[in-house]
């Protein structure tokens, strides 16, 4: 049987049929086509080039090559016949509804276009977590540099490139890891839908991620020093002045933004239109509400980023001057546009983390979620208010003076809906019967870390304090506490919680406890001193610092290596439990009421044999008269939880 992973997963003989444009469409041929079209694009750009730097060629090469890759993979299989006015074959239409049953033999479907949202969820999970480890490795390289006040092995230019790569790659991870992995996999299951609204768009969103990563990493081979010199924020005019690696940043970051937008459109449409009967808004799991809140940001913010980066690309390649004051542009404009995207972006990271934590909490507290409506209002409130605070990233950049008190107040006000989540925590664990299984441990750690992250954000929102703290390690500590301590810890919790349903195996308990304690302890010992170091005046993105700060920096670096090691324990646990453990997990090991746990493992290809009717909310623990959450066959008892 040939290895082709075709649209829908069924291989076909090599005879001509209108559904396929060339003989086989798989990852290898797509890559070859991508490279060839990329070279054509590069040549085309070189004809348009007005400078000696080849930026137009590189940008066009990336863009055309990416389109070539996606066409090679099969995304245009239906599009092209329709454009040409040809009939679309019956098989293509059937592919759109018939999905392959999961089985160890068709593992190739993970390497192509899959219309099964569960496959796409796993693709995202594996791909994005891989990027997490790559970026984490670079963090280790950064901390090696900072062991000595005069700098370490990497010269100045390499260090800034390293910091930029670490930051940008982690931004890729943070944007997608919860929304695209668990959102794609579990939202249709939680709302009782058989599939998502736009499966092909979802697959496209996934394939943009390896493209973005490869394009970004090709920047290390271009130009002396590799990488890009601006840090993840890519400020013009330095971005316009930068060497060729900047083009990789422009295209890679735009692709991730586009992937986030696509995922957002898909999730929003699915949640709004495909809920099962009886799934009213007040019975919606809090994780799905978090997806709703985050997707409004995810759909509206990244296009601003893509536009901004496109303007930088134009400045670089054809010498426009959007961001060059001497020719009529404005460098300040870049900061405004970037942060208009950048602030909602960080709430794209954090709101799903809230969703995960509040979703897991009631299951292990064995109590309903306290203040469900308040939690929803909090998340939606945070999402809406996040559009009004972006200037707090540029307080010192010369914004109109009257704007500073406004943005300071707005930023401080956003801490009110953010703080609501702590009331949910306290109310849910009040008089509960808490089971300290691994997911619960990580949820508790999430709340602790996010408390510190959130409080330090209030420091930064105060403009006079920001004058000292901006651009230093205090800011770095703040966002590592909220993103790593918040989102990544909720990623850990989600992994331990949903692993039995995703893979049919339980994650190893001993390794899990070891992972928890090493991660929690070393995370805090690493990042807590960041606040001290930042308050004492160490700027960020700089490889040298005052000798008096060396002891703190060495302490941070050593603990960072240990924290990195704890992540390896997590990885080992995942690989070992997934591949080498034979014992199957129970169907519902945590006794959760939520709909996805009422399904068998592995979940069938179209999720439900028939769409269930939802008759109760998912958090009715402790209510003796509560019905199970859904009726699977009308009038009969549903599949009992094990």
């Amino acid at each position: 049987m040939s290895q082709t992973a075709t649209l829908g997963g069924r291989s076909q003989a090599a005879s001509f049929s209108p559904r396929r444009l060339f003989l086989s469409q798989n990852l290898l041929t797509a890559t070859i086509i991508g490279i060839v079209t990329g070279l054509i694009g590069y040549w085309l750009g070189a004809q348009l080039e007005t400078t000696d730097n080849g930026d137009a060629g590189i940008l066009l090469g990336y863009l055309v090559g990416s389109v070539g890759f996606l066409v090679g993979l099969g995304f245009a299989n239906e599009l092209i016949p329709r454009l040409l006015g040809r009939p679309v074959s019956v098989e293509v239409k059937a592919d759109a509804v018939e999905l392959e049953a999961p089985s160890p033999r068709n593992w190739t479907r993970y390497f192509g276009i899959s219309l099964d949202h569960k496959v796409v969820g796993i693709q995202f999970g594996v791909g994005v977590v891989f990027l997490f480890f790559v970026a984490g490795f670079q963090a280790m390289m950064i901390r090696t540099e900072l062991l000595h006040p005069k700098g370490g092995p990497w010269p100045a230019g390499q260090y800034t490139a390293l910091v930029g790569l670490h930051g940008l790659l982690m931004m890729f991870v943070a944007t997608l890891v919860i929304v695209a992995t668990f959102g794609n996999y579990f939202v249709p299951l939680m709302i009782g839908a058989k599939r998502m609204a736009f499966p092909r768009l979802e697959a496209l969103a996934f394939w943009l991620v390896p493209l973005a990563a490869i394009i970004l990493y090709s920047s290390i081979f271009q130009g002396s020093g590799g990488g890009f010199p601006t840090g993840w924020t890519g400020y013009a005019p330095l971005a316009v002045e930068a060497r060729a690696g900047m083009d990789g940043y422009i295209v890679g970051f735009s692709f991730i933004g586009i992937a986030a937008t696509i995922a957002g459109i898909n999730l929003l449409t699915t949640i709004f239109t495909m809920r099962a009967p009886g799934m009213s808004w007040s019975r919606l799991p809090i994780f799905v509400w978090a997806m709703v809140a985050v997707e409004f940001l995810s759909v509206l913010a990244p296009p601003v980023l893509a536009t901004t980066l496109a303007l930088v690309g134009l400045d670089r390649s054809v010498q426009s001057s959007f961001f060059l004051p001497s020719n009529g542009g404005s460098a300040f404009l870049y900061q405004e546009m970037f942060w208009f995207f950048g602030h909602p972006e960080v709430y794209i990271f954090v709101i799903p983390a809230f969703g995960i934590a509040l979703e897991i909490l009631p299951v292990f507290a064995r109590k309903p979620l306290f203040g469900y409506r308040l939690a929803v209002a909090g998340m939606v409130g945070v999402a809406m208010m996040s559009w009004f605070v972006w200037n707090h990233h540029i307080f010192e950049s010369g914004i109109a003076p009257g704007l500073r008190p406004f943005f300071m107040t707005a930023t401080e006000f956003i801490s009110i809906p953010t703080g609501v989540v702590f009331l949910n925590l306290l109310g849910t664990i009040w008089r509960a019967k808490i089971q300290f299984k691994l997911p619960m441990l990580f949820v508790a750690a999430f709340f602790f870390n996010f408390l510190i992250g959130g409080l330090t954000g209030v420091f930064l929102s105060d403009v006079p304090l920001d004058v000292t703290l901006h651009g230093g390690f205090f800011v770095v500590g703040h966002f590592h506490y909220t993103i790593v301590g918040g989102e990544i810890f909720s990623l850990y919790a989600a992994t331990y919680y949903w692993f039995p349903k995703l893979t049919g195996k339980m994650l190893n308990e001993r390794l899990g406890k070891l992972h928890f304690w090493t991660a929690f302890i070393f995370f805090n010992t690493t990042f807590l001193p960041f606040f001290a170091v930042g308050y004492l005046g160490q700027p960020r993105r700089v490889p040298v610092y005052l000798p008096s700060l060396q002891a703190l920096n060495v302490w941070i670096s050593v603990n960072a290596f240990l924290f990195g090691f704890s992540n390896l324990i997590w990885l080992v646990n995942i690989i070992y439990s997934w591949a080498f453990v034979k014992e199957r997990a129970p169907l519902n090991p945590w006794n959760s009421r939520s709909l996805e746990w009422q399904l068998p493992t592995p979940i069938p290809a179209d999720n439900f044999q028939r769409i269930p009717t939802i008759v109760a909310g998912p958090y009715e623990y402790g209510n003796p008269t509560a019905l199970p959450v859904a009726e699977f066959t009308p009038g009969t008892a549903p599949v009992p939880a094990s």
Partner: protein, 276 residues
């Protein structure tokens, strides 16, 4: 186990811990120090915000840890907790309390901010309406890749690679850049102003006594961003008024010959070449 006991015990622990934390914080001298009025304001603001954060943070941690410990499920008890879904009074109380804290922080911050950016308020109270406040010393800070230079328009417009300012006089910094975005940050003076090309960004400082200060770049600007600083022999200095006057005379002599090549003093510059 009555509700009261479950609230009073953590409540007492919280009270003790937060009072201890707040008392400690009032006795700490937080950075960036007290060399200027702005730095002093930031140090005090830091103390105030630390006290608020400590109180709030300790409350959440103490109550959460207490609840996590006391309300854990006993082994063998696979039952559920009581189905409490919400409490309107508690939720409203929480929202009101957090709003009050936030409003206080916002009001405090706004008042402090006005005191740091309005020239008349940067100086000590005794000098609010003095003539010297209306005519501050103007120092233009020019950022370029990768060095800071300083121009003194009131002394003939000479340019110098080191910065000296007088104590007890309002100093106005006009910060601009010749190429990319830099960030002019004098840590102990409590001032950070971005140097943006084509923009004149203004900051004020009133130094209270002679001292030395370090200048760093706080906005990534290229290869030597981390080395774009005035330290060591190139330290910035706050001098007494007489020492400043004699420094100015010496600087005019030393840097004077270059004056005829410098562009006329302007708030922003567009040097050429720009494009390729």
């Amino acid at each position: 186990m009555s509700t009261r006991r479950h609230l009073i015990v953590p409540g007492l622990v919280w009270a003790v811990l937060s009072i201890a934390a707040d008392l400690t914080l009032t006795h700490l001298n937080l950075p960036p120090g007290y060399a200027t009025t702005t730095a002093a304001g930031q140090s005090v603001t830091g103390q105030v915000f630390s006290m608020i954060s400590a109180t709030v943070g300790i409350a959440v941690v103490v109550f959460a840890v207490y609840f996590l410990v006391v309300f854990r499920g006993r082994p063998g008890d696979a039952g559920d907790g009581p189905p409490v879904r919400g409490d309107v009074r508690l939720q409203s109380g929480w929202l009101v309390l957090s709003t009050v804290i936030v409003l206080f922080a916002a009001a405090y911050g706004s008042i402090e901010l006005e005191g740091q950016v309005t020239p008349q308020l940067v100086v000590p109270a005794s000098q609010y309406h003095s003539a010297a406040t209306r005519h501050p010393l103007i120092v233009q800070v020019i950022g370029q890749q990768w060095q800071w230079t300083y121009r003194y328009p009131q002394y003939g417009g000479f340019e110098s690679p080191v910065i000296r300012i007088p104590a007890n006089r309002l100093v106005q910094f006009d910060v601009t850049s010749l190429d990319v975005i830099h960030g002019w940050w004098a840590y102990t003076l409590g001032i950070k102003v971005n140097a943006e090309p084509g923009v004149n960004n203004v900051g004020y400082v009133y130094a209270l006594k002679p001292s030395r200060f370090i200048v760093e770049c706080s906005s990534l600007c290229g290869l030597w961003h981390g080395y774009m600083r005035n330290t060591g022999a190139q330290d910035g200095e706050v001098l007494s008024q007489s020492a400043f006057a004699s420094w100015v005379k010496g600087a005019q002599r030393y840097y004077g010959p270059e004056d005829k090549y410098l562009p006329k003093f302007a708030l922003v510059y567009y040097p050429s070449p720009t494009t390729y």
